[in-house]
Amino acid sequence: MATLLIVVPVGLIVVIIIQKGLPAINWQFLSDVPRQGMRAGGIFPAIIGTIYLVTGAIVFALPIGLLAAIYLSEYSKDNPLNRIIKLAIINLAGVPSVVYGLFGLALFVIFFKFGASILSGSLTLGIMILPIVITTSREALESVPQSFREVSLSLGASKWQTIRNIVLPNAIPGILTGTILGLGRAAGETAPILFTVAAFYLPQLPKSIFDQAMALPYHLYVISTQVPNVDEKIRYGTAFVLLALVLFMNLVAIIIRTKFRKKKKW
């Protein structure tokens, strides 16, 4: 019963968006810039903007997140301070995204003077998904059996050799899964990009990381509430593309996970 209560609304949302959005999808919609004050044309700049932002976020969050996870799981001692740090990171994942948006505005846009730009937006999204990347990577590292580490060390390998050759390769599926889930979250969020990067209407593509850009979630917000008389088809088409993008990333994460789980040898 409770399951039905959850599944039915979610199913309805997906069905309605597909039903109303799919007819809008054609090559022109995907590859053209918005025209007539966003009442016609396509959403190409928003798609590209979202891809830039997501790529930027991951370039920032993956290395830092992975290094933090390696430190926390392999090097840090089990003391109260480190336990608090781990707990704090898990809790950071639950901070509302608009708070990250304000943080990004204060730090990157104003303090570092990056302005409203792809750089600011990427860094803000990166910080937002950092807790997800750290937590999932840490779990992936810790799920590698302790006995493998002991065997490797007992053969004269150093601690870092053990991490690089034994622990990391066996944790990669989990790390990838977490990263892609983080990406899905970054692609769908409106609030963090609202103040840091998103352009209301910018029909040409960004030329550098210091340019503003359009992004799918914000574009959807704009054409749904800020611009009168936008054709329903365009709104639902945009929602469909966004939904498809996020679901696609989650699907990739699931495929990677099942594929490696089958290959798992212990």
Binding site: D78, R149, E150, V151, S152, S154, L155, G156, K265, W266
Partner: protein, 248 residues
């Protein structure tokens, strides 16, 4: 000459004392068996010798352990572990191919020449009596081998690093009698080249392969003598009781 010289060794994990004032020696080219009931400190003692207890944050020790005349607290730990190899209780292949499992230690020590590695792997597998069974499938995952083969692979992997001493931690606890016999054969041949310390729950195994046998009880070394003596005229009543199966 003495391989390991252990004096007044005390070990704690937090406030629990795991070894109490152990003093003993390990001599070259012998098989030293260590017997005793579970929780008597056998494995803890073994893991002192290659400093694997260091991984446990709750571990504390005092007393002296000398390896070839050097204090093990002061030698480079990676070098020590290369000289003192270990075979674990369960077959624990690394998630790599058969070849890479055996070559792992050498690679980590910085040996990169494929020719040299191939030679090391072949020699080690021959010494562990596994070469004939796996020579045509060295590229396969080590997990495809049977349990007994995996354990001999682990022995080969330890030999490949060219240690002086090999520590066996109940190496046959997961094996059937035939695989056990093969591993025991390998051990007896290996003592010509190496010094072996064998922890075992199987008293008969200690009687079969050990030159000397040590009996541990609740963290104390009760008795250490030639295997024949331990099994025929033990000095301590508790040793006698244990090997006759009265407790444990």
């Amino acid at each position: 000459m003495v391989i390991f010289d252990i004096k007044n060794l005390n070990i704690w994990f937090d406030s629990t004392q795991a070894l109490k004032n152990v003093t003993m020696q390990v001599l070259p080219h012998e098989i030293l068996s260590i017997i005793g009931p579970s929780n008597s400190g056998k494995t803890t003692f073994l893991r002192i010798l290659n400093r694997l207890n260091d991984l446990n944050a709750r571990f504390k020790m005092n007393g002296d352990v000398w390896f070839n005349g050097q204090d093990i607290k002061k030698v480079d730990v990676e070098l020590l572990r290369r000289k003192v190899g270990m075979v674990f209780a369960l077959p624990l292949p690394l998630p790599l191919s058969i070849f890479d499992n055996v070559a792992y230690g050498m690679k980590m020590a910085g040996v990169n020449s494929r020719k040299r590695l191939a030679q090391v792997v072949e020699n080690a597998l021959k010494q562990a009596y596994l070469w004939e069974e796996v020579k045509d499938r060295l590229g396969e995952s080590a997990f495809k081998l049977s349990g007994g083969q995996q354990q001999r692979l682990c022995i080969a992997r330890t030999l490949a690093v060219e240690p002086d001493v090999i520590l066996f931690d109940e190496p046959c606890s997961g094996l059937d009698p035939i695989s056990t016999a093969k591993v025991e054969d390998a051990m007896v041949k290996l003592k010509e080249k190496y010094t072996i310390v064998l922890v075992t729950n199987n008293v008969k195994q200690a009687a079969r392969v050990g030159d000397r046998t040590a009996f541990f009880l609740s963290g104390e070394l009760i008795e250490l003598d030639k295997t024949e003596k331990i099994f025929t005229v033990p000095q301590d009543k508790r040793t006698d009781g244990y090997i006759r199966g009265k407790f444990g």
